[in-house]
C-alpha cells in the first residue's frame, strides 16, 4: 500500500509538471478549457477530501467559492485593497465559517446535511447582499487585474497540486483513517475512540479553505462579480456530479472525472449550440446508465481485464 501510494504521488508529480506546460503550447480556446478544467479539478479534489470518505454529499462548494470571489471583489472595488491581501483573507474567513457550520451541522446526517449545505450558499448570498446593500454600498464589484488566463491557470494548478498532496498526506494519516471509519459507521467510530466531530470539522475546514481560494483566484477571470453568479448552486452540483462521475473513493477519481466531463460538455456545446442543455441532460443520463461506477470504475475494470488477459 505504501509503495503504491508513493507511485501515485510520483505519477501526479509528473502530471503536474506536464500540466504546467499547457499555457506554453496553447493559449486561447484550449487554455480556457484547461483553466476551467483546472478550476473544477481543484474544487472536486477539495470536495472529495471531505465527502469521499464520509459519504456526506456536501453542496457547500458554491458558498465557499462565492465567499472567495465576493470578498476579493468587495475588497478591491469598494475598499481599494490589493488582490493578494483579499485572496489571503478570504480563505481564512471561510475556515472560520466552515468551523461554525461544521459545529452547527454535526448532528445532521445524510440528506439533512446535504440540503443544509445547499441552503448555505443561498443564505450567505442573501446575507452578504443585504449587508452590502444596506451598510457597505457598492458601485459594482470589479476585479480588474493584469492576470492572463495563463497566470490563473498556474495558480489553479498550484492549488490543485497542493490539495492533492494534502489529501495524500491525510489519506496516510490517522485523520484520514478516522474519516474512512466515520464513512463506514459513525456510531462505531465514536466507540473506537474517534472524536468524530473534530475530525469532520477539521476536514470540512480544509475543503472550505481551498474552495474559497479557488473562488478568489478565479474572480479576476470574471472581472465583474455578481453575487448571483458566484454563489451559484449550479456550481455546487457540478462539482458533486464531476466527483461522482470520477469516483470518490480514490483521490485521483475527481481528476479523471473532470477531464472527460469537460471534454464531453465542450463537444456538445460546440456541436449543438441551439440545444446544448437538452443534449447535456441526455448525456448525463447515458453516463449514469452506462458507467455505473464512474470513470474510476471503468478504468479499474479495464486494468483488471488487462491483467487477466
Amino acid at each position: 500500500m505504501t509503495a503504491k501510494g508513493w507511485k501515485d504521488l510520483v505519477l501526479i508529480g509528473v502530471l503536474v509538471l506536464a500540466a504546467a506546460f499547457v499555457p506554453l503550447v496553447t493559449d486561447g480556446y484550449w487554455l480556457s478549457i484547461a483553466v476551467t478544467a483546472m478550476m473544477y479539478i481543484a474544487l472536486t479534489t477539495a470536495w472529495t477530501l471531505f465527502s469521499g470518505p464520509t459519504h456526506y454529499i456536501s453542496l457547500a462548494t458554491g458558498a465557499f467559492f462565492g465567499v472567495g470571489g465576493y470578498l476579493v471583489a468587495t475588497g478591491m472595488s469598494d475598499h481599494d485593497l490589493p488582490f493578494w491581501l483579499m485572496a489571503a483573507i478570504a480563505p481564512v474567513v471561510s475556515v472560520v465559517l466552515a468551523a461554525l457550520i461544521g459545529a452547527a451541522t454535526l448532528r445532521l446526517s445524510g440528506i439533512y446535511f446535504v440540503i443544509f449545505t445547499l441552503g448555505l450558499a443561498e443564505m450567505i448570498r442573501g446575507l452578504v447582499s443585504w449587508v452590502q446593500n444596506n451598510f457597505l454600498g457598492s458601485r459594482g464589484l470589479y476585479v480588474l487585474t493584469d492576470f492572463t488566463e495563463a497566470h490563473i491557470y498556474w495558480m489553479l494548478l498550484a492549488i490543485a497540486a497542493t490539495v492533492y498532496v494534502i489529501g495524500w498526506l491525510i489519506d496516510r494519516s490517522r485523520l484520514g483513517f478516522a474519516m474512512k471509519i466515520i464513512g463506514n459507521d459513525e456510531g462505531v467510530a465514536k466507540h473506537l475512540g474517534i472524536d468524530t466531530a473534530r475530525a469532520k470539522v477539521l476536514l470540512f475546514m480544509v475543503t472550505g479553505f481551498f474552495s474559497t481560494l479557488v473562488g478568489a483566484i478565479v474572480a479576476p477571470r470574471y472581472s465583474y462579480i455578481e453575487p448571483n453568479q458566484v454563489f451559484s448552486p449550479e456550481l455546487s452540483f457540478m462539482v458533486v456530479i464531476m466527483a461522482l462521475l470520477g469516483g470518490t473513493q480514490k483521490l485521483w477519481g475527481p481528476i479523471i472525472g473532470v477531464i472527460p466531463f469537460i471534454l464531453i460538455w465542450e463537444t456538445i456545446t460546440a456541436s449543438f449550440p441551439n440545444a446544448t442543455t437538452l443534449y447535456l441532460g441526455l448525456c448525463f443520463l447515458a453516463i449514469v446508465y452506462f458507467l455505473p461506477n464512474g470513470v474510476v470504475g471503468l478504468v479499474q475494470k479495464i486494468i483488471a481485464k488487462g491483467r487477466s488477459a
Binding site: I33, W130, N133, S232
Partner: protein, 374 residues
C-alpha cells in the same frame, strides 16, 4: 472565402436568457437575414454573405469565456457581436481586446466606462453609465416636483443583486441632492416570490413616487402587486423589462403612464420601418429599449466593415472610433469609445413605451402623472 463569419455568444438558458431572447437574439437574426437578403456585406473583393456561429453561454461566465475563446481561436470568426449583460461584456473584454475584435457593448451599464475603455481599446459603450441612468429619472422627478405635481418623498426599492445594489447606491445621494427624501428604502432578494409586503410598505408612506431598481421577474411582480394593492402614486417606475412588449401584453391599459428604464422614439420613419421588419422576420415586436440599441450597434458594425472593405479588425475598430453612423436611432458617434446617444427613461403612453428622457436624442415626449390602475 465567399462568406464572412460572425460569431456571437449569449444566453439561451439561465437567468438572463429571458432578457436575451427579447433584446439580443431576435435582432441578431433580423440583421443577418437583412444583410444576406441584400446579398451580403459589400467588401473590396465582392459581396459576402454572413455565416453566423452562435453559442449558448447558459448565463455562466466560465462558459462564456470558453465560448468566446472558441470563436476567436478555433472558429477564427471574422467579427464577434458583443455579449448580453454587463458582467459578460466585462468578463469577455480581455479576449476581444487580445484578438482585436471590436466590441460594441449594448446591454451594459456601468460607471467604470472610463477605466474599462482605457484598458480595452476596442470596447465601445452605447447605453450610458449607471449615473446617467439614475440622473435621467432624477430629472423627471425634479421637473415634476418643481411644477408642484408631486411631493418630495420617494419610496425606493431595489433587487439585492449587483445591478440593483449599484443603482440604489448611486440613486440615494443623487435623489437626496435633488431635494428628495427617501421615506422607504429597502432591498429584496432575487427571486422573492411574494412582493406584497414591499408594496404594502411603500403604500404605507405618503410618497408620491415609487422607484424600483428591478429585474424582469420582479418588474412584473411589483407591478401586479401595485395593481392589486392599488398603490396610488403619481410616479411609478420599474427598471429592466418595463420596456418589454410582454409587459404591455400582460397589463394592457392598467400600465398607462408607468415609467421605466429605456425608451425609444417610435415615430421616426427609420424606427417604424425597423419595428415592422422586426415583427415580420422574428414574428414578435421588439422591446422599446435595448432592441433598438442592439440593432443600431449591428448597423454600426456593418457600416464600419463595409467602409473598411476587408476583414481588418483593427481598421474597423479605428473606423468606429472616428466616424459617425446612421442608425435607426439617428446618428451615433463615439467619444472615447462611448456613445452619448441613448434613452434613459421611458413611459407607457397609449400602449407604446415612449422615451421621456434621453441623452442627445430628439423626440422625447412629456412626462405624465400616473392616475390610478384601471
Amino acid at each position: 472565402a465567399d462568406t464572412i463569419r460572425i460569431g456571437t455568444v449569449a444566453p439561451k438558458t439561465g437567468p438572463l436568457a429571458g432578457g436575451a431572447l427579447v433584446s439580443q437574439w431576435p435582432n441578431v437574426d433580423l440583421w443577418i437575414q437583412e444583410v444576406n437578403e441584400r446579398g451580403g456585406l459589400k467588401l473590396k473583393d465582392g459581396q459576402k454573405k454572413i455565416e453566423l456561429v452562435a453559442y449558448d453561454d447558459k448565463t455562466n461566465p466560465t462558459e462564456h469565456i470558453k465560448a468566446v475563446q472558441r470563436l476567436a481561436t478555433q472558429d477564427k470568426v471574422d467579427f464577434i457581436i458583443a455579449p448580453y449583460g454587463t458582467g459578460f461584456n466585462i468578463a469577455a473584454a480581455p479576449i476581444y481586446a487580445k484578438y482585436d475584435y471590436p466590441q460594441i457593448a449594448v446591454t451594459s451599464v456601468t460607471d467604470q466606462i472610463g477605466e474599462l475603455t482605457e484598458r480595452y481599446p476596442s470596447l465601445f459603450f452605447t447605453l450610458g453609465s449607471t449615473t446617467a441612468f439614475v440622473e435621467g429619472l432624477r430629472d423627471v422627478l425634479v421637473k415634476l416636483k418643481d411644477e408642484g405635481k408631486i411631493n418630495n418623498k420617494i419610496a425606493m426599492v431595489n433587487v439585492a443583486d449587483a445591478f440593483g445594489i449599484e443603482l440604489a447606491e448611486v440613486a440615494r445621494p443623487t435623489f437626496e441632492a435633488a431635494g428628495f427624501e427617501l421615506v422607504y428604502d429597502k432591498s429584496y432578494p432575487l427571486g422573492t416570490p411574494d412582493l406584497s409586503p414591499i408594496v404594502k410598505g411603500a403604500k404605507a408612506t405618503d410618497a408620491d413616487s415609487f422607484v424600483a431598481w428591478s429585474y424582469p421577474p420582479d418588474t412584473f411582480g411589483l407591478t401586479e402587486q401595485a395593481v392589486i394593492e392599488d398603490l396610488n402614486v403619481k410616479v411609478f417606475y420599474t427598471a429592466v423589462a418595463t420596456a418589454f412588449p410582454a409587459y404591455g401584453g400582460k397589463f394592457g391599459a392598467q400600465i398607462e403612464n408607468v415609467l421605466g428604464a429605456g425608451g425609444v422614439n417610435p415615430d421616426t420613419p427609420e424606427m417604424q420601418a425597423y419595428r415592422t421588419k422586426h415583427e415580420e422576420v422574428t414574428g414578435k415586436a421588439p422591446d422599446y429599449w435595448a432592441s433598438a440599441n442592439t440593432y443600431a450597434s449591428l448597423q454600426i458594425l456593418e457600416t464600419a466593415i463595409e467602409a473598411v472593405g476587408e476583414v481588418n479588425r483593427e481598421a474597423v475598430t479605428d473606423y468606429i472610433k472616428t466616424h459617425t453612423f446612421d442608425t435607426i436611432m439617428g446618428p451615433i458617434s463615439f467619444e472615447n469609445q462611448n456613445s452619448n446617444r441613448f434613452w434613459t427613461v421611458g413611459q407607457w403612453q397609449g400602449g407604446v413605451f415612449r422615451g421621456v428622457v434621453s441623452s442627445n436624442i430628439d423626440g422625447a415626449v412629456d412626462v405624465k402623472l400616473k392616475d390610478g390602475w384601471k
